[in-house]
Symmetry: C2
Subunit: 250 residues, 2 copies
């Protein structure tokens, strides 16, 4: 049972401050993942390690080579912390950096070399990816969000569970999480959707939903849930629906 789990940058970092990891949360998340670690691909958001340097250098609007380097270096540092926490929790894992293994075209994944990820899964190793800067065929500086990575990987591996851990209880309507949403329902409730807090250059909740609705169209359902609530990650990895389920229109 292949499971793709995203943990949002808002859980792992203080998004309002530069290089501010939430170390206790990283440890807690790692311990929850360690309960059902098999066949999991983990994607984590960049949080303040990505969004703040990206904004500082004008990415993705300005092609700033130094900005690409600094931003990648920061998110790779966060990834190293996550990998280390997982390892301390007993999970065998390895980092996989999108900058090294995929190529964008106009900001969308054009090609993605999945062989190392598949080989890791075969060998009981959890691949750990993250939102990252990446090269783009249009010659622009580009950012690939964790949400786009999740959708691509889930499709490519035909994942059985796709769980997007955010810092809200799901897709909110009048302050309360919807139990399910489809593309048609989205247009109805769109004006009322709650967004992520803090700086987020990758589109927040709307971006997440659009990625996941595309995935649902392909027959792969997913969920957006609150990974800040203890126990939710473990439940999600078991395939229990927590938060909002993203489905296709029947």
């Amino acid at each position: 049972m292949i499971r793709v789990l995203k943990i949002g940058g808002s859980i792992l970092t203080d998004k309002s401050r530069e290089f501010a990891p939430r170390e206790e949360e990283i440890t807690r998340v790692a311990k929850e993942i360690a309960i059902h670690p098999d066949d999991v691909v983990l994607v984590h958001g960049a949080g303040s390690f990505g969004h703040i340097p990206a904004k500082k250098y004008g990415l993705p609007h300005v092609f700033n080579r130094q900005g690409l380097r600094v931003t990648h270096s920061c998110v790779a540092r966060l990834c190293e912390m996550v990998v280390l926490a997982l390892s301390h929790a007993g999970v065998d894992c390895l980092p996989v950096h999108p900058l090294s293994c995929l190529h964008l075209r106009g900001g969308r994944i054009d090609s993605f070399f999945m062989d190392p990820i598949e080989e890791m899964l075969k060998n009981g190793i959890m691949p750990v990816l993250h939102g990252d800067v990446a090269m783009d065929a249009t010659g622009k500086a580009a950012i690939v969000s964790g949400d786009q990575l999740v959708a691509y990987i889930a499709k490519s591996l035909q994942a059985d569970v796709v769980a997007i851990g955010s810092n809200v209880d799901g897709v909110l309507f009048s302050g309360r999480p919807l139990s399910r949403i489809t593309r048609k329902e989205l247009s109805r409730v769109e004006s009322a959707i709650g967004g992520s807090e803090g700086v987020d250059v990758t589109g927040g909740m709307r971006g997440k939903l659009l990625e996941l609705l595309d995935l649902a169209d392909l027959g792969i359902e997913s969920m957006i849930f609150n990974a800040g609530i203890k126990g939710n990650i473990t439940r999600a990895l078991k395939g229990e629906y927590v938060g909002t389920r993203i489905e296709r229109d029947k």
Copy 2:
């Protein structure tokens, strides 16, 4: 003019001690590269950052997941130092980690996703790769040496200059560097070839030569030179032959 430059781990680190970067040498190497940085792919050896943890965990003979993680983390740390030194010397560069972008079969590169590297070169960014652990289709733990990377990349990009910077003056015969060597000449002088000093799990000088002789068979000549001698890197990047030239039999 595409140039593939390898800088051996023996230049950048003290191979006899764990985590012992030669910081002055890293700075000096970066400054030399900065004189002709265009269209260069840099590959650096792992030095003590790779060979010591690999040996400690029994890699590549034992499939040790923790060993893979720790060894990769160490070599990535050395790569970050090299990238930072290059950046300080004014070179726009980005790290590319073999663990993320290639797949081995029986210890040899089976597939290698080169798109990000090519896109970086197009955009005036120097890709910086390194000897690394990598996933292997045979399910074994595996190591990909900087020398194997150089040969693959040089072939793939049809490089004009291929320069392997070591800590010796080239391929030595009776203590003196040969100006050129071919496959036939190798068998003649083989018993007298000087090897790299210290711990080197990737085969030392003989491994280097075999990679480069295969490359020469494809019509791509290369050189092994002493990168510890000031000025040699700059000369090699200009396409001047320093050290020993590796050619095919006529």
